[in-house]
């Protein structure tokens, strides 16, 4: 059987949502005999003329007494081979947070409209929420029986609401004229509305494609829910996102040694599956981490936020931001816009109150991987929790804001120095890749590359070596001033060379010593240069015919004899991220 399609029915109070759902349940045979007789008894007890189908979902005493829906009820129904989970969302403005609750997990919203009355503000609100959450909408223009099944009424009501929804950004809006009370166009085409040529509501639900979450080919990502040890492995649990994961793959900085899906040991897990991954040589992993290289690291973003709590937003107060298992402290720095739900208009505001939608700039206490709602609804959305534990708001991440740099001179420059064969270029190249995956576009200036182009006129005399350093540092400065971090990898053998680079680059200069003893470099000799130098074919080769002076006080030392390449890359990338962050 295919997946369960989730639908939320919304719309203003008294537009007939509960009646429609009751009718859908009744006509698809989804109500049991004892439930029907219970509805009949409740209807009679409350003096209804006949069976009140709203009682199928309005199950609370207060709902039945006040004839309203307070909170969403979830009901199952089956049409043909397709299963639906239908949420009846409340229509009152003060319970809009419960409508958002129901809408947040839905594949489709049915928005009911009362054809016999002026379109209610709440209808516009619900369309605006559908647009915000990017949910397709099926407009059910209800109570057509009260307007004589008049085509003109439908054609007055539907197009303007469709236009409104589309203008706000709903991905799809369609309309069907119905009478939930009499059943017209619910399961069968209505003989009273021969002018309507589209399918009845049930048929639309049965036949619409609901693709579910699009499978994007990406890096696997595991938002970690729990961590425990098992037979020497660090086991992390979570629902896999993004891409498939196999035993032997890297996840974050560790390697997957064993893998389980829902308790069964497997070789490969697919996105969407609940996995437990046994990691080898994992560094500190904690609940809330995302094990991935894919996401952008940032601490600042713009989000559309629906306020759900009677206490209004307080700027600069500390809230907890939760994305699934991740919890991070957050403050709202700025209200960019308030979005008027009735009109979709944006305007400035000084506060955000319950049931209002706003665009906010949010700043986190630390940098974490972030995703955009448009690309990934699960990882790109969040809730805000106040210090008392109340869920005060729900949000979607629209835009990740650029980082600010520590130095006023621009992005940092990392100067990798060390003997030929120590591993400078390999480490720099891999670090650039890793940083790119986490949203930092660092530039790489490599000694060999520069010497084949910009510095091809230079040799290895003392003067030429100094000029080579000067040109490299000046190019690095130009790039860094434009906001891109730079990693330079060149031997730069003398203290004087590096001091020249430091003079040119100022406080953006960071020295990284790629440490490896000469003997080991000679043994590695990846380019065969040492062999040739020792044979006397390359004069003034650093370490053989020319001196190398180790740095006096480097900002970072990577000893490539005791650390493997991955570890060196991780440490350099971590160091870069720390300097790039505000």
């Amino acid at each position: 059987m295919e997946r369960i399609v989730r639908i939320a029915a919304a719309g203003s109070v008294d537009d007939g949502k509960s009646t429609l759902i009751g009718r859908l349940l009744l006509e698809t045979g989804s109500l049991f005999d004892d439930q029907l007789s219970e509805i009949d008894v409740a209807s009679a007890r409350r003096g209804r003329n006949g069976r009140d189908l709203a009682f199928a979902t309005d199950g609370l005493r207060e709902e039945r007494e006040r004839n309203i829906t307070l909170d969403a009820a979830y009901r199952h129904l089956q049409i043909g081979a397709r299963r639906f989970l239908l949420a009846d969302a409340p229509g009152h403005a003060e319970y809009t947070q419960n409508m958002v609750t129901a809408a947040s997990t839905a594949d489709l919203l049915i928005v009911l409209v009362d054809a016999s009355r002026e379109t209610a503000l709440q209808t516009h609100r619900h369309l605006a929420i559908a647009a915000w959450l990017q949910k397709p909408v099926l407009l059910a223009v209800n109570k057509m029986d009260l307007v004589g099944y008049d085509r003109e009424v439908f054609e007055r009501v539907a197009p303007s609401l469709i236009a409104f929804g589309k203008r706000l950004g709903c991905p799809e809006v369609e309309a069907v004229p119905i009478s939930a009370f009499h059943g017209d166009n619910v399961t069968e085409p209505s003989p009273a509305m021969p002018w309507y040529e589209g399918p009845p509501l049930l048929e639309q639900l049965a036949n619409s494609p609901f693709p579910g979450k699009a499978a994007e080919a990406r890096e696997p990502t595991l938002p970690v829910q729990n961590v425990f040890s098992h037979e020497g492995l660090t086991v992390v649990t979570g629902t896999l996102q993004g891409g498939a994961l196999a035993v032997g793959n890297r996840l974050g900085s560790a390697t997957v040694a064993r893998l389980w899906v829902a308790g069964e040991e497997v070789e490969v897990a697919q996105p969407g599956q609940p996995v437990a991954a046994g990691l080898e040589s994992a560094n500190a992993v904690a609940r809330g981490d995302w094990l991935s290289l894919y996401y952008i690291l940032s601490g600042r973003f713009l989000a559309t936020v629906f306020w759900m709590h009677p206490d209004p937003l307080r700027l600069f107060m500390r809230y907890q931001l939760r994305i699934g298992p991740r919890v991070v402290n957050a403050t709202v720095r700025r209200i960019a816009n308030l979005i008027e739900l009735q009109s979709g208009c944006r305007h400035t505001a000084t506060t955000v109150a319950a049931n209002e939608l706003a665009e906010l700039e949010i700043e986190l206490d630390e940098e974490v991987p972030l995703a955009l709602y448009g690309q990934d609804p699960d990882l790109g959305s969040f809730i805000l929790v106040d210090p008392k534990g109340a869920t005060v708001a729900a949000g979607t991440i629209d835009r990740i804001l650029p980082k600010r740099f520590k130095s006023a001179f621009g992005a940092p420059v990392f100067w990798l120095t060390g003997l030929s064969g120590a591993g400078k270029s390999s480490i720099a190249e891999a670090a650039v890749e890793q940083l790119r995956a986490s949203g930092i576009e660092a530039a790489h200036l490599d000694g060999d590359t520069l010497r084949s182009g910009l510095c091809s006129d230079l040799g290895f005399s003392a003067v030429d070596r100094l000029e080579n350093i000067r040109r490299t540092a000046e190019v690095a400065k130009l790039i860094a001033e434009q906001g891109r971090p730079v990693i330079c990898s060149l031997i730069s053998p003398l203290v004087a060379h590096r001091e020249q680079a430091r003079r040119i680059l100022g406080p953006t200069y960071h020295e990284v010593f790629i440490k490896c003893e000469l003997d080991e470099c000679v043994r590695r000799d990846p380019k065969g240069l040492y062999a040739r130098a020792l044979a006397g074919k390359i004069p003034q080769f650093t370490g053989i015919g020319a001196p190398y002076e180790p740095p006096i006080a480097p900002d970072l030392v990577l000893d490539t004899e005791s650390l493997d390449l991955d570890e060196c890359v991780d440490r350099l990338a971590t160091f870069v991220r720390g300097e790039v962050a505000q």
């Binding site: 005493r61 909170d71 729990n226 939760r322 994305i323 609804p377 699960d378 008392k388």
Partner: protein, 303 residues
């Protein structure tokens, strides 16, 4: 070990959702426990919890509130099941609550200890300092439950306040309990009775034999077929008879109705349920007391 596959996409999604919620329950709370009744829903829930944390141990104790009116089959199954799951089983008895004067027994022929369980449960939650109680309740069971959240808060007295539920947004659960309160967690919220049975079939889960057709002495009371036990004796007008029956839900013997059935295997039960025109709780005497009976019990701290 043989791999057991779930045959439908719907069931795989429901299992994933349940596992996600269980892992959140373990991750967000200091002292969560599974509310274990010995019924099929809590058995399935415990199996899924075991899978969620494999290859590690089950990280929840099982808390059973024993009314003293359980079927002996349920209790025997419970003890064996807990041992097989490697679970820490904690039993708290309604009888002790009564002996301690914390509740008074209902009297008369319709007396049931069902609602008294809430008092014992709340005492146990306080005694064990539980901050979360994970249950197998489903939204399709009953109209008040149809409204309940995955993470459902309870006040200090254990009360559910349906008019003031905390909103939920996607899969971002906020389980911070209110002052002196706790959280109930329902990983199987979106399952139906048939989903539970399909899962039992696919995962080859063992159930107490009460769920399958067997011969038993029963009598009819208020339209519900009750088993004759030391706690549920027929009066003069209620004539007991040996019938072939099974139980659709398993709870307190005084209010759990049997149904005439020939279904002796899981697949026969599934076929029978597909034909049934009655809901699962039609056989529950406790829900028939008023049209808001479940809501009222939940407001008092019920499961």
């Amino acid at each position: 070990m043989e791999m057991l596959e779930l045959r439908s996409k719907a069931l795989r999604d429901l299992e994933e959702e349940a596992i996600y919620v269980l892992r959140e329950a373990r991750g967000q709370f200091e002292r969560p426990a599974i509310l274990f009744s010995g019924g099929k829903d809590s058995i399935v829930l415990t199996h899924i919890a075991k899978r969620a944390f494999a290859p590690g141990p089950l990280p929840f104790p099982l808390l059973h509130v024993d009314t003293g009116h359980n079927f002996p089959e349920t209790l025997a199954f419970r003890d064996r099941f807990a041992a097989e799951m490697g679970a820490d089983l904690v039993v708290r008895r309604v009888q002790d609550t009564l002996d301690g004067g914390r509740a008074r027994e209902e009297t008369g022929p319709r007396a049931s200890r069902n609602s008294l369980q809430s008092v014992t449960l709340m005492d146990a939650i306080r005694e064990l300092s539980l901050d979360a109680a994970v249950g197998g309740a489903r939204r399709d069971e009953e109209k008040a439950r149809a409204k309940e959240r995955f993470f459902s808060l309870r006040s200090g007295s254990g009360a559910w306040e349906p008019e003031a539920q905390r909103p939920e947004f996607g899969r971002h659960f906020d389980g911070a309990p209110p002052f002196e309160g706790h959280c109930r967690v329902f990983p199987l919220s979106n399952w139906t009775e048939l989903d539970i049975w399909a899962y039992i079939e696919d995962r080859e889960i063992e159930l107490p034999n009460l769920y399958f057709a067997h011969e038993r002495e029963v009598f009819l009371r208020d339209g519900v077929l009750l088993a004759r036990t030391p706690f549920s004796e027929p009066d003069q007008t209620e004539l007991p008879a040996i019938r072939r029956v099974r139980f659709r839900t398993v709870g307190d013997a005084t209010c759990t109705g049997a149904m005439a059935s020939e279904a002796r295997s899981i697949s026969e039960v599934i076929a029978e349920l597909r034909r049934s025109r009655l809901s699962e709780r039609a056989g529950r005497g406790d829900d028939r007391r008023s049209d808001a009976a479940m809501e009222d019990r939940k407001r008092q701290g019920y499961f």
